[in-house]
Symmetry: C2
Subunit: 161 residues, 2 copies
């Protein structure tokens, strides 16, 4: 959301000019994703919760609380088959396809423990396996196995740029 | 300033994790520098005022209100000779030397007017013309000629990284 002067506005706080939401991977995983899976409440809403697979990427920026060029969402993960782990990546008028290799997210604290996994996806218009590649990229973060505070989490935030 | 958890703290506001001071050149010039030269007050202190030529660059981060890898200051400009415009760039145990060409700062609003000038400087230890180059870089912003709201300004913010 932006006010008419271009200054980002967050419900309940108005930030001075020059402040932006530029989280590190560790902050996204430990503060936002982990707390979300614990059903913790956030005193100030920063990340919108929605099912991003119901939308095309160009419809998402308008639904974010804040962001300039990058937008953040918590989104449930849909399964392709009821009993399988494989995620359903179909979206409104296309699909998201993984690109590159998944990257571990480590904590910068003493332990350097692996706390999450970051996956890059590209949006294709049309239906797999055809589809026309676009320049929309999503970074999906999930908690690393074994560090989930609750065992039945199915939510993760996506960073879209 | 950072709290023990690494979350940036501003006097009077505590920002949620992931928020950082990453101003654009236009925000620095129009919001911070211009307002400073008008002696406007800032509701929340973000940029420390000090004479940065009294210090070595490695002593400055601890004096900034916030910053991670980059720190911002308002600093008066010293003249080399009482009647000349040439600035004195000598600092505690060395000097700052301009590098590259000065770059104009334009407003992104309709007019695209030139509002400021951005100059890059590198810190050298020792005395000119010898001195040993370091990796400390400062970006100095000044208001463009003719847009100064008051004619006798001698202050400018420096971004140090």
């Amino acid at each position: 959301m932006a006010s008419s002067s271009g200054v980002p506005v967050i419900p309940q706080i108005e930030l001075p000019p020059g402040f932006r939401f530029h989280p590190t991977d560790e902050e996204l995983v430990l503060h936002y994703l982990w707390r979300k899976t614990e059903s913790a409440t956030f005193s100030i809403p920063v990340i919108t919760e929605l099912d991003l697979y119901k939308y095309d990427p160009w419809d998402l920026p308008g639904k974010a609380i804040l962001g300039e060029g990058e937008w953040y969402f918590f989104s449930p993960r849909d399964r392709k088959y009821p009993n399988g782990a494989r995620p359903n990546r179909a979206a409104a008028s296309g699909f998201w396809k993984a690109t590159g290799t998944d990257r571990p997210v480590h904590t910068s604290r003493g332990t350097l423990q692996k706390i999450g996994v970051k996956k890059a996806l590209v949006f294709y218009k049309g239906r797999a396996p055809k589809g026309v590649k676009t320049t929309w990229v999503m970074h999906e973060y999930r908690l690393a196995d074994g560090i989930s505070p609750s065992s039945n989490t199915t939510r993760k935030p996506g960073s879209l740029r």
